[in-house]
């Protein structure tokens, strides 16, 4: 039974390479060069899935990306599962494992199929909307079962082992599609020296030429393809991308191409190779050579396996050496489809009959068929097919196309394959991604791209240019035009000679008439992927859905991964006829990216796992790791959070670290703080305007704390700035604010005060900062520095230069803990050596490294704010009780002054930052908890503020918090209450936010 439908010769396959694969658990064989669809057909596999709504058996219809039924789940292991792969686009490889995504328990015996057949009449369009909408809360439940029954494929449950990435390109000409027009265009553009990218979704270039009966210059068309590809490969500026689908056409000629680099090689990419790549292309000119899709005719039971597109049959016969049947009936309304009958006949197979909807066809191909003795029934069409799991007969009847009715009861012809062709629809998807409305052309019975602002050229089939000679000429011309417009000089080329054929017009036939009306006739499918019938479209128009967009959404016509490739025009034609209007009056729906499904892997590229986000490290990170730090993410930085010892939890570690700082000395890596070097004669005046406080009198050698507000008067950053030269300052910012503060300074200097002579440069990464804090910090530092640390020689809020650990350093005597503190700044390349020397000297002082958690506790005990934690962009300096930091008499109206004096900012009863002390010292107020004055009031309660920071404190002996309370500064001593989710209420007393050392003596010792 192996490959019974394989022809004895022919096809672009390698019969010496036999490949085993499995489909739905059964093992089959195919050949190298096959698509999965070709191999399935060669093995006589009729049913590849069950339909979405009615659960009818479905077979392969097409040979390319327009395939609506053979959409399979691929993958040999859980981790390599890929849903929604079209069997027609998947190259066969050894060991390929494919399964149907719908059909339970299996596609041949489907429980839903029985329900579908019985219940079909009960499932009109809008069925799901109408039935499952109520009660709304049940939708989630319904959805789960509908999805399972519909079989939309599934994502893998394990991590994909393969890698995917992006590549950016800039080219002069991007040619989309490598059929005759695209190859010609690429050749013309490539010869000019332009940077050309040629992308095609198929396994090999050539498009329709790969299964064509035509000759070029007297030789098989495929020979010309090989010669062109060879020439293109030799051109250095030409990039060839086979297996690469141009999926999206975005603004400004930006296109995305999904390349499947190794999907044809195996279940997993070979080691070291990238499986799929997303090319992001910016093209000066785009040549769309996307060709045309053959349109099926819509007739009764046209979805029974064994009903196929005419052109697809030719493709299987000529390109893959597969005949998907023995006895063919062809139903057509055009000349071109006759090639199928000829190919079939030439393969030694039986052409039962050709039903041609036209009265008296006399084109070259028709006459060729007649001459071979093929039976041609004119003014006829297949009006329905018969068969449960495969076609067994087709009913051919005489029809009156203009009256849309049959004119004879017709006859049943025994056959196992019905090929149909209803004409050719230009593939306008990409052309309309940006909104260019397609235009209907009656002469070709199809939509062609409309006007669009993009710099693009459409050539060949997409333009309605179908005859091979014309297509090649159109392609050459388009390629020349694109290259010329991109600034290159085209060189002359010769177009290969093609045998001219006489071709007669196509007759407009979409839905084939039946002796019963549409509603009663056997189901006539328009969109097989979404199970949309002609009757459903008629019903939709009867129910008042007259806009094409409404018809689409009500029936699901052309939804999802299908994007209307086969059904769109037929659906429009049926809706238009049903409403008595023309197709152009009906208009078309728009198409959206992506043209075919793209894996999430390709969308994510390499931005996953350890490369998901940049992680920033300080120069001392390795030391933190060696000393057992737990880390906290602060923006992109990894900062030590705490340094647990001997299995300590965070509370024990933080308590120990806090105690060490208060009792002796602690060490903090403060390198992440933003640092900005500011130079210029107007630097001081600039600081006056950007900070809330005054800087005029800050002497060289001194440092000052500053608050920064936005124009609205709300605090947005803070930090200490030191005067290192009369025209030279070092500003520090918060860790998270480093980049935005620098930007803020630049914006104001460049746009508002360009007259101020001042420059800024970030030195955040240049200086590593080691903070020593605690009563013994002076003693410790004195052992490793030549700087005079005497209390009077080096007082609080000043800085000195000197050697620390033998390395030049700037040491700032500032404090964020309330203790005696020195911030030692070292050129980052030398910081590790200095740290090691300090640590060695610190042993006798119990020098204790601490992290951000201890830093938070210590600063909160002192009531020092953290911008972004205790502020939220709605707090003025006065709200923070930091009015002391506002220069109310500065001559220039600095940023925020006007804003903070608005009526609303100076009113009574604003939320103000205060300390909060739980009445029960063991209770802990959750950060973010809401506060009320009266816990007994009815819900919704009158909320008067919230907790911003909250900690358990060892040194204080009780838990404490900071928070904002309406009018809080006048309520010191009052009680507030925080109702908790569990119904309990935490009672707290409002107090000063400075809990520790209110006089600031500790930092001045």
């Amino acid at each position: 039974m192996s490959q019974v439908y394989r022809l004895s010769n022919g096809g672009r396959i390698d019969r010496s390479k036999v490949l085993n694969f499995t489909f739905n658990g059964q093992t089959y064989q195919g050949f190298a060069g096959d698509t999965l669809a070709a191999a399935l057909l060669a093995n006589g596999v009729d049913i590849v899935g069950r339909s979405f709504k009615y659960s009818r058996p479905r077979g392969i219809i097409a040979a390319g990306s327009e395939e609506p039924n053979a959409i399979l789940q691929i993958g040999a292991t859980e981790a390599t599962q890929v849903p929604n792969v079209r069997a027609t686009q998947q190259a066969l490889y050894a060991g390929l494992v494919a399964t149907s995504t719908n059909g339970w328990p299996n596609v041949n015996n489907d429980v839903m199929g029985i329900l579908g057949r019985v219940g079909g009449k009960l499932m009109p369009p809008g069925f799901y909307y109408k039935t499952f909408m109520y009660p709304q809360s049940f939708w989630m439940t319904y959805e789960k079962y509908i999805r399972k029954a519909a079989g939309l494929g599934r994502a893998p449950l394990q991590n994909d082992p393969d890698s995917y990435d992006y590549m950016s390109h800039h080219c002069d000409v991007l040619v989309v599609g490598a059929g005759p027009a695209g190859l010609a265009a690429a050749l013309a553009a490539g010869r000019s020296g332009a940077r050309v990218i040629l992308a095609d979704e198929q396994e090999e270039f050539g498009g329709s030429l790969l299964d064509s009966r035509e000759t070029l210059d007297g030789k098989p068309a495929a020979d010309w393809v090989a010669a062109v590809v060879a020439e293109l490969e030799a051109l250095p500026e030409v990039t060839l991308l086979p297996r690469a689908t141009v999926n999206g056409y975005h603004d400004h000629n930006f296109l995305t191409i999904h390349e499947r680099l190794t999907d044809h090689l195996g279940d997993r990419a070979p080691i070291g190779q990238v499986r799929q790549r997303m090319h992001r292309v910016r093209a000066k000119r785009v040549v769309l050579a996307t060709g045309a899709h053959e349109r099926p005719l819509v007739y009764g039971n046209n979805d029974v396996p064994g009903n196929m597109l005419a052109g697809a049959v030719s493709t299987y016969v000529r390109r893959y050496g597969v005949a998907p049947g023995r006895k063919l009936v062809l139903s057509t309304n055009n000349d071109h489809a006759y090639r199928v009958a000829l190919d079939w006949h030439d393969a030694g197979l039986k052409v039962v009959a050709v039903a041609d909807a036209r009265h008296n066809p006399r084109g070259s191909l028709v006459e060729e068929a007649r001459a071979k003795g093929i039976r041609i029934l004119t003014s006829s069409a297949v009006i329905e097919s018969r068969g449960s799991k495969h076609v067994s007969a087709a009913r051919v009847a005489a029809i009156d196309v203009s009256a849309h009715k049959i004119s004879s009861p017709g006859e049943w012809l025994d056959c196992d394959l019905v090929a149909t062709s209803g004409g050719y629809s230009p593939v306008v998807h990409l052309a309309s991604h940006l909104g260019g409305k397609p235009i209907w052309r009656e002469d070709i019975l199809g939509f062609v791209p409309g006007d669009a602002p993009q710099k693009r050229v459409c050539v060949g089939g997409i333009n309605g240019v179908f005859a091979l000679g014309d297509t090649l000429a159109d392609g050459f011309e388009g390629g020349v035009r694109a290259a010329t417009e991109a600034g290159f000089k085209a060189v002359l080329g010769v177009i290969p000679k093609v045998l001219a054929r006489q071709e007669e017009p196509t007759v407009a036939l979409f839905q084939v008439p039946h002796d019963k009306n549409t509603a009663r006739a056997p189901k006539q499918f328009v969109d097989q992927q979404n199970d949309v019938t002609a009757a459903a479209i008629e019903l939709a128009t009867r129910e008042g859905f007259e806009s094409v967009e409404h018809v689409k959404r009500y029936t699901a016509l052309g939804f999802g991964t299908d994007q209307g490739k086969l059904g769109n025009i037929n659906g429009l034609a049926i809706a238009a006829r049903s409403m008595g209007i023309t197709i152009p009056e009906m208009g078309t729906t728009m198409f959206r990216p992506n043209y075919t499904p793209v894996t999430f892997g390709a969308v994510a590229g390499r931005h996953c796992g350890h490369l998901f986000e940049p992680v920033r490290f300080t120069a001392l990170h390795a030391w933190h790791v060696k000393n057992g730090a737990e880390f906290e993410d602060v923006g992109q930085w990894k900062r030590p959070w705490y340094f647990p010892r001997n299995g300590e939890d965070i509370h024990a570690a933080v308590a120990r670290e806090c105690k060490a700082v208060r009792d002796s000395v602690g060490l903090l890596d403060a390198s992440t703080l933003g640092k900005i070097d500011i130079q210029g004669p107007d630097a001081r005046e600039f600081l006056n305007r950007i900070y809330t406080n005054a800087w005029t009198k800050l002497d060289v050698g001194k440092a000052r704390y500053g608050l920064m507000c936005k124009e609205d008067g709300m605090v947005f950053d803070d930090g200490v700035t030191a005067c290192v030269g009369d025209n030279h300052f070092i500003m520090t910012t918060t860790t998270g604010g480093a980049a935005r503060v620098l930007q803020w300074l630049e914006i104001y200097q460049q746009t508002e005060w360009p007259d101020l002579k001042v420059y800024f440069t970030s030195v955040t990464d240049h200086w590593a900062t080691l903070t020593l804090s605690g009563p013994n910090s002076r003693k410790l530092l004195s052992e490793v520095t030549d700087i005079d640390l005497d209390k009077d020689a080096f007082p609080f809020m000043t800085w000195k230069e000197g050697l620390v650990g033998g390395v030049p350093a700037r040491v700032f005597r500032i404090s964020f803990t309330g203790e005696l503190s020195y911030e030692v700044n070292i050129q980052a390349n030398y910081a590790m050596g200095v740290l090691e020397k300090i640590v060695a000297a610190g042993k006798q002082y119990n020098l204790t490294p601490y992290g951000t958690e201890t830093m938070h506790v210590l600063r909160a005990e002192k009531g020092f704010i953290i911008v972004g934690q205790d502020t939220d962009g709605s707090m003025t300096p006065d709200d923070l009780n930091m009015g002391w930091c506002v220069g109310r008499t500065k001559p220039f109206s600095w940023i925020g002054w006007r804003g903070m004096n608005r009526e609303d900012c100076v009113r009574e009863n604003r939320k103000q930052l205060v300390g909060l002390k739980p009445v029960d010292p063991n209770q802990w107020l959750p950060e973010g908890a809401q506060l009320v004055f009266d816990p007994k009031q009815a819900i919704p309660m009158d909320m008067v503020g919230h907790v911003t920071s909250s900690y358990a404190s060892n040194s204080l002996g009780y838990s404490f918090a900071m928070g904002v309370v309406k009018g809080g500064l006048k309520r010191i001593g009052d009680r507030v209450y925080s109702p908790q989710a569990d119904g309990s209420v935490i009672e707290a007393q409002i107090c000063s936010s400075v809990f520790f050392d209110p006089k600031g003596e500790q930092q001045n010792i």
Binding site: M167, H170, R195, A619, A622, D726, D765, G806, Y830, G833
Partner: protein, 210 residues
Amino acid sequence: MSTINVYQQRPGNDAKAETPLHHADLASLVGKGRKNAGVTLREKKLLGHLTLRGDGKDPAFAGGVFKALSLELPVALTVVANGEMSLQWLGPDEWLLIVPAGEEFAAEQKLRDALDGLHIQIVNVSGGQTLLELSGPNVRDVLMKSTSYDVHPNNFPVGKAVGTVFAKSQLVIRRTGEETWELLIRRSFSDYWWLWLQDASAEYGLSIQV
């Protein structure tokens, strides 16, 4: 120039120095990559980096820079070099001077002398950044995987330098030879770039030089 604090920040040669990629221990990776690797990476360590700001349109500024460095002020998106010294345009009023290790303090003093009286800024940023040199036939592919900037020779000739988006952050790309490029990276991001570059060059083979 007492109004500006000019400070020798580099210690003597006996001090322990760790470059931003110290933790990657590149020396131990030399010779471990694929034969005929498509990409070769080298960290140009511990050089002197100075940011220079001033008015590029002022002939006195350009003249002063030339006097101090014997280099013409480079125009937009270019880098000029004189032996081991290079000067790169970073913005309309901003340049990057890279000098051999240890020469940054003298270079700053020389520049300040030559530019005396002009409104300028010179900042030693040597600890905050480093240069990675990438060479080999596949460097362009690695760059195309990483940045949306056009790195084709037509658009990116030797001598060009741009600051741009790279993976999920930013850096400066400098083209110094037909197949030789430099990435100017910030210290705190160096591990991200190291991981990224290893990954992006994996399919071409990566070898390390010191």
